[in-house]
Symmetry: C2
Subunit: 308 residues, 2 copies
């Protein structure tokens, strides 16, 4: 069955049509900031939906994921982290009334988790944790063979767990030492700039983005390698806590920062091995996500079909 | 239905008969250390079972919980933390063959969790975390309305999660800063002794046990109060991580250290409130366990009946 997936991001809104977890047609890409206020964004989303339905009249459902707090049971966007004006928006009803189709809405990291579980690196696991390492650090859980959302649908916020209890910087919520304030995209860039400056090599670090830093490390730059080792160790300490608590079969890591690959996965695996019992880590798999930037579209489209 | 529960502890083995979660008869108390090796302990357990069955011929099942790694699916004690000689013991088969009754075996913290969920402070919750604060710190999870055990049945090890990433002391597994190495019974006593000594009040702290320290705090001793505040804050930081990850409806705290009551619960609640989003803490309940030292007998007996 054709389904329409929408991945609402702080930078852009991606759209597409899927069949059985495969993206068969990309739709319009909407610039989140340029499109302005909520009504303009809604209009742009409805236009994209109309365009894709014209090409694929068989589209049976719509799924849309948002970067923030989403009440997936009642179909309401509670609050978005980085897009103003989206508070308590009954998005499921709005889209259903405009299109007549079944609609599902979800948090973006949970939609990505669903996609990787159904069609990606997490396929076949009953106890799975998915993590997105990007501007922020988000996550989703599959436990006892089903998505786990928690009492108020807010579970999986791995980026808010603490690395250092005393240390700055504070998280969004007063949670000092929050992981995402250490290993978010921007924070990695800042760390790289500082480290290269300290080493008297400010000119060498380029734009200091995670991608550039990974390039330097792959080319043999030991400073870049040591920064990745440090970042992987920090993530590994927090994931060790998660492993003690949830004893998952697999942890899938996606998002831009995870593209550093073994530079990051090596210290993560080593840290988890060093900080947990063999009985809970010996069969644990730490895997890269396989659906990349399309995970959002694919996961939301699949969740839309679940609502049929 | 009558069921026989056995709570195998490092110090003593408690036995009893329950009906619908109520302990109606205590059986023999076995001294774990004094009873010697594994065969002597097994003989003492079988004797206790025979005695209780003589008094209650209607006993329909047996449940037994152990302080350590237990394979509840295959009925095998993998390893006990503080009792030597218990490695890969097929305890379910041994007891079943000796008694002819259905037998369940479980980890002690998980049996306590089951008891509090079915009959105690955790009744009615679908997303529940239970924690025992004693010599060590153990835990159990109820998620989506069912016990959650994880890939290799090792989930819920809250005491192994880290408070301080860098700090000593190391946990059993190389996990520096592990919560149970900060707030275990013995560690609280050591901390109290140090603190009173530093304040030039070594004579005032008595045996420095958590119970004594709670007595001092209740009597208005501000040093004792500040130590409890510190301990509650440390537990609260780790529980905040757990709240971000699992978004539970309730956290139930039991074990000897939890008897400090509001001295401990106050800073725990305050820390969770200060470190998490309102959406995930505003309806969260932090509750004292209600079944006390009998939770093990009651939980194991109930799990025994589940095996019928």
């Amino acid at each position: 069955m054709f389904s329409l997936g929408i991945d609402f991001g702080g930078t852009s809104i991606k759209t597409g049509v899927t069949v059985n977890g495969a993206l068969i047609q990309r739709g319009p890409l909407i610039d989140t900031m340029k499109s302005g206020d909520r009504d303009s964004l809604l209009a742009a989303i409805l236009e994209a939906i109309a365009e894709l339905r014209a090409a694929f009249p068989g589209i049976a459902a719509i799924g849309i994921g948002f970067p923030g707090l989403v009440d997936s049971v009642n179909g309401i966007v509670r609050e978005l982290s980085n897009v103003a004006g989206w508070v308590n928006v009954p998005m499921r009803d709005i889209l259903h009334q405009a299109t007549g189709l079944p609609v599902a809405i979800e948090n973006d990291a949970k939609a990505m988790t669903y996609a990787e579980w159904k069609f990606g690196a997490g396929r076949g696991f009953s106890h799975l944790v998915c993590i997105t390492l990007g501007t922020g650090v988000g996550g989703g859980l599959i436990l006892n063979g089903q998505p786990y959302k928690g009492a108020s649908l807010g579970a999986g916020e791995i980026g808010q767990m603490h690395y250092s209890s005393s240390g700055s910087p504070a998280g969004h919520y007063g949670n000092s030492g929050a992981l995402e304030k250490l290993v978010g995209n921007k924070e990695i860039t800042e760390r790289a700039r500082e480290r290269y400056a300290l080493a008297g090599r400010a000119m060498d670090c380029g734009d200091a983005s995670p991608a550039t830093l990974a390039g330097h490390a792959h080319a043999g730059d030991t400073l870049a390698q040591s920064i990745w080792d440090e970042i992987g160790t920090e993530i590994g300490v927090v994931l060790s806590d998660l492993v003690w608590l949830l004893n998952p079969e697999a942890i899938v890591l996606g998002g831009g920062v995870a593209k550093a690959g073994e530079l990051l996965f090596d210290p993560i695996r080593r840290t988890i091995r060093n900080r947990t019992a063999a009985a809970i880590h010996e069969n644990l798999q730490i895997l890269p996500a396989t659906l990349g930037n399309d995970a959002g579209i694919i996961g939301n489209a699949a969740l839309g079909l679940e609502a049929v």
